[in-house]
Amino acid sequence: MSALLHVDGVSKYFAMGGLLSRTQTAAVRDANFRLEQGTPEIFTIVGESGSGKTTLARMILGLETPTEGEIRYKGNPISGLSFGAARRAFMTDVQPVFQNPFEAFNPLKRVDRYIESTAKVFRGITARADLDAAMDEALASVGLSLAEVRGRYPHELSGGQLQRAAIARALVCKPKVLIADEPVSMVDASLRMAIVNLLRTLRDDLGVSVIYITHDLATAYYISDRIMIMQKGRVVEMGAARQVLDDPQHPYSRLLKASVLSVTDAGQGNLEPARDLMEASRTALEHADASRLVEQGEGRLVRMAG
């Protein structure tokens, strides 16, 4: 099997501070993973704010250049493709879905404008009828129709509809990989599962691989095939989602799982924070420089000391 997307030892450092007190902060340290061709999957990156998950997503999209390491798409490095035909070809295959559906469309412009532009530029469709057909097909795959969306401004649609329109926008150019950065965190509770279920349908029916970035372990468990947990820029645990979340090994992963507010024992006020796990994950972070990812079998990696 050949790699579709290969994130190879990628690190990103940001320079912080003023002229005299410049320090380097690592947003992402030595991230490695690959998505295979031919086996679409939902790959979830879990982390809290400051874990580097969004920076990693931006690097995969080519919006940020890695300081170290390389990201390759179908064997070709993606950095340096800032414009031109190669960049366009890459953008046709790798498309983003953004976090806030209310921000993702210009409030002064019609929503279909973006879908149309994507179809025109990336699929080279010019005829009116073909454009409409392509747009309708993409919208149908997310449960909308062109008639519902055409001529509408963002404020005329609900958050769930907008997020689906945004996904349809990305799907118009028939991408191989969809990078969804917290796609449901700003969507109302009653509409949230529709989006999450949609991501699963995309994988099963359209063969699109999804890199799902979230802080929500519950939805991650619900839809993902593989999961990668990040703490302060470092990958601490990685493997099959169910396996990792049913029995997390790294203290930080265990802390995250323990902090998820359970709904099964609703009304019992079970809020005692896991102090020992907090302590353990802090210790793990302090000794992170001297740790490495250890193979545990079946593609599972856990960061361990030594």
């Binding site: 919006l63 953008m91 498309q95 921000e103 993702a104 530029v121 926008r169």
Partner: protein
Amino acid sequence: MLTTFRDLFRYNIEFRIGVVLVSLIVIFSCLSFFSPYVPEQIYTVIPDQPPSLEHWFGTNSRGQDLFWNLTFAFRNTLVFGLIVAVLSRIISIVVGMTAGYLSGWVDRGLMFVNDIFVALPIFPILILFYFVLRNDLDTYTLALIMACLGWPFDARLIRSVGLGLRHREFTRQAIFAGMSPAKIMFEEHLPYVMPIIFSTAMANMIWSIGFEVTLGVLGFTNLNVPTIGTTLYWANNHSAMVVGTWWWVIIPVILIILTFIGLFLLAVSMNEHIDPRSRLRRMGGGNG
């Protein structure tokens, strides 16, 4: 756009007064098209007549009917202000949006040039142009020069808006929808800059007309073309206040002050309209 003006008109008393004042001045200047006199000709009527039914604003010492002469003066001055405003808006939009959206070294380069223009001493430069061009310095040439000097402050303002828009998610959406930078700048971002462009255009007109009047009064311009500046120059030249032809000075001054107040009120009310909080406060108050 139309609804914006309707809202402004309905809820904003400053805007209403501004519109009325500016419209009056515009109508007045348009009367010049029906003038019975040719503006460059002198001694066509009896000089130094005070305002009367025959000559509403009186006549000046050069034998011109002041009413009709001033219609020409205002037309020329307003056209001058408008040309400066439009041309300098175009430059500031292009520079500001490009610097804001592309940022990086393009931004640094453009803002370097921008800061040079900010620092230029405008008045000596204009006088220098007069000495070189002499009577070739007509309204249009002067407008062109002023436009080249009047953009940098507003370009910086537009750039700051552009910088903010660059990081909005819809900009990234547009990039991944395959839109070109030019398309993003002028179709996605321009609508956000329009209110600023309108309100700075008014301020810019006040600025450029002020300069025109100053240059005219001092005589550093083509004195045969009637403008507010040259009208005052001739009045001063004939010692109008000393001789007692006060209308020659007072009437144009009142009219130009009304123009300035009108433009100023338009700029202020549009500026307030840009900020949604102050706009809502006013509209909420207007509702009851």
